[in-house]
């Protein structure tokens, strides 16, 4: 870490986490591209790197890069919020290396071993075959240890230093985040029970604890990047926590419509998941309102300069505010009511929602945090965009939006032909898949995937070189 302005060990560790996160983001896009090609050219890498393997790598890299970037974000903001160096930072560094080594081994096993016999050994050492949390059991235990160490550092630092509202929320949120992982680790022959608890991890992560995490990061970003008032920001944060957990926890019901669970989940799931977009609206308003307010205060002083101290990062934070609402809120609400979900559950509709929601709600703000780290590391007071920033931001955002629209069109075919018209059988499934609109949707998804992937290279180039540009205020 030569030429670094960072004096805090916690911030140095954060940059390590961000580096691995960005690398895994690249892996996510690469394997997503393989899977997208397989939809268009089914023989591509057949029985070499099949769709199931590519897709497992695609979604696992997604989850893991986000967890890395989340850990990095917390290590980054802790010294600023608490006013002290993170307690247990040496442990944190050790856990970082363990985590990185474990992820590397898991990925290599996914690629080179792929499947195992139907026995416990495969579950322990190859993968568990459960979407998003496929990691084999040895890695599950390892991840638990790493997560506990991370939470311990956060708690010790929060209790020793100044415990701000943001840190308080993060402490409560991260312990739930780590604890929920435990509910997805056991094996059962009863697939209904299996999926019931599997959703405790997936749903209570992405529709509850991760969203609260995003609220905290957005709060930190508003204070550091546009100088928003802490009291206002933290009040909004508490309101967001109230709304997110108030709707998100019982919103879990929308995953319990069809997996063998009782019918009362229809009403509970419909009601609470329909409320889930509300906090996302609140978060959207909050970011734009604060920005307008701070800029207005500045303009009132007769100053004609931007209040934003990090243009690239703030762009990603605003994209987050909008993308979270659009991807998670609108695209989620599309198919959350049971009357609709009966036909849309498990179609390309879900996939369209998944792409825009993970991107809009999480990828955006975590990329923003990477830019904040680049700013800090290079000792920049006001960081401006470069040409690469513009290319990266517009290509990645445009690419993901394009993929979402393409998948939504394909989803309509899936829903109308396979489900509504043909009753979801094997033959009905392929009737839908061979529809012209479906095929065109998959073609466009691939094109937009390539756009996204190209944007990724601009992003990496920018993250590595923007700090050396000369048009910043130092």
């Amino acid at each position: 870490m030569a030429n670094s302005y960072l004096t805090s060990e916690s911030k140095k560790l954060a940059t390590w986490y961000f580096t691995v996160a960005a690398t895994l983001f690249g892996a996510q896009l690469l394997f997503g591209l393989v899977a997208a090609i397989q939809y268009v050219i089914p023989g591509f890498l057949f029985e070499i790197l099949d769709f199931s393997v590519a897709r497992m790598l695609h979604i696992n890299a997604l989850v893991v890069w986000m967890v890395f970037a989340m850990f990095g974000s917390v290590y980054w903001l802790l010294p600023d919020e608490t006013g002290i160096e993170t307690v247990g930072i040496e442990l944190g560094k050790l856990l970082f290396w363990i985590f990185t080594a474990a992820v590397t081994v898991v990925v290599l096993v996914y690629i080179f071993i792929q499947v195992g016999a139907a026995d416990e050994t495969s579950i322990w050492f190859i993968h568990e075959g459960r979407e998003y949390i496929e990691a084999p059991r040895w890695a599950d235990l390892g991840i638990t240890v790493v997560a506990l160490g991370f939470v311990a550092n956060l708690f010790m630092t929060g209790m020793k230093g100044n415990r701000s509202g943001i840190v308080t929320v993060l402490m409560a949120d991260m312990i739930a985040f780590a604890g929920l992982y435990l509910t997805g680790m056991f094996y059962t022959d009863n697939i209904t029970v299996d999926q019931f608890w599997w959703w405790w991890v997936i749903h209570l992560w992405v529709e509850a604890t991760w969203e609260v995490f995003v609220g905290s990061i957005a709060a930190y970003g508003l204070i550091t990047m546009i100088g928003a008032h802490r009291k206002v920001v933290e009040m909004w944060l508490w309101i967001e926590v109230t709304m997110l957990f108030g709707s998100g926890i019982l919103g879990m019901g929308h995953h319990y419509f069809w997996i063998g669970t009782p019918e009362y989940w229809w009403e509970i799931g419909a009601l609470f998941s329909a409320l889930e977009p509300l906090p996302l609206v609140a978060m959207f308003i909050h970011v734009l309102y604060d920005w307008g307010k701070m800029q207005g205060e500045e303009s009132a002083k007769g100053q004609d300069v931007s209040v934003i101290t990090n243009k690239p990062a703030f762009t990603w934070f605003v994209l987050n505010a909008f993308g979270n609402f659009l991807g998670a809120g609108i695209w989620g609400f599309f198919h959350t009511l049971p009357q609709v979900n009966l036909y849309t559950h498990g179609t390309q509709f879900t996939s369209a929602h998944g792409h825009l929601a993970f991107f809009g709600a999480y990828a955006t703000i975590l990329i923003g945090m990477m830019y904040i780290a680049v700013q800090g590391k290079n000792g920049i007071k006001v960081m401006n965009n470069t040409t690469s920033t513009i290319f990266a931001t517009s290509m990645i955002t445009g690419g993901v939006l394009g993929m979402t629209v393409a998948l939504t069109v394909a989803g309509y075919v899936d829903v109308l032909v396979t489900r509504a018209q043909m009753g979801a059988t094997w033959a009905g499934y392929f009737d839908g898949q061979s529809g012209a609109w479906f095929a065109q949707g998959m073609d466009w998804r691939l094109v937009m995937g390539v756009v996204t992937f190209t944007g990724f290279f601009f992003l990496i180039k920018d993250l590595l070189s923007i700090g050396k540009a000369t048009h910043h205020v130092r």
Binding site: V115, S122, Q348, T425, G428
Partner: protein, 217 residues
């Protein structure tokens, strides 16, 4: 002068967050207890005495399963009927059936079914949903999949396909060879048959009932 409003007080919102989160969590946990009781797996005596469980016991593989419209519930439900041979037997003991299901469920995970197919609608969308695959007419006596494998029963046809999927391509998009053994295939078919007997509140709708018209066919 007006008093400072509670609505702009951080402590008020902090407490609200704690109370509402706590309340929602307690409700979720309470519902989890109720649901867990309802989705626990049944057993052989339930099946023999006609007790309906949302998730029947493993010996459901000894019985014929159909998917029929329930007038009162207004959607289809799995109906467990008379005895039916499964790989030539309809007298699997509780232990034998449980062992087969265990093998099949393990296999469904280690072979990574869920990253192409959907199970109970969850998974990937690259291959057909397997929730009611056992009831798919394509595997039935007059179905294209059964005749393709040259087998005379549904379970044997499915097991044959699972062991040599790329020998029986149905479309340009094929299932790859996953090294599934004969015994694992038997377990997987038992797992599929068991899954088709789970009461999924009518999902998927109209499964196998529509010989619908696409493009005028």
């Amino acid at each position: 002068m007006a008093k400072k409003s509670v609505w702009s007080d951080n402590r008020f919102w902090q407490r609200s967050a704690a109370w509402i989160t706590g309340f929602a969590s307690v409700l979720l946990i309470w519902l989890t207890f109720d649901t867990s009781a309802q989705i626990s797996m049944g057993n052989d005596s339930d099946l023999k005495s006609g007790v309906t469980k949302r998730v029947p016991g493993p010996t459901v593989i000894n019985y014929k399963i159909t998917y029929e419209m329930d007038k009162k519930r207004q959607h289809e439900v799995p109906v467990i009927g008379e005895k039916e041979k499964f790989f030539g037997r309809d007298d699997y003991s509780e232990d034998e059936a449980a062992a087969l299901l265990h093998l099949g469920k393990l296999g469904s995970q280690t072979k990574n079914c869920m990253n192409c197919h959907t199970l109970l609608g969850n998974g990937a969308y690259y291959a057909p949903d397997l929730t009611k695959a056992w009831l798919d007419p394509a595997w039935g006596p007059t179905g294209s999949m059964q005749s393709m494998t040259g087998k005379s029963t549904k379970e044997e046809a499915m097991a044959e396909f699972l062991q040599h999927p790329s020998q029986y391509p149905t479309h340009a998009r094929m299932m790859p060879n996953l090294g599934i053994t004969a015994e694992e295939a038997k377990g997987l078919v038992a797992f599929l048959k068991h899954m088709s007997s789970i009461d999924t509140n009518g999902f998927p709708r109209n499964f196998g009932k529509i010989q619908g018209a696409v493009n005028g066919k």
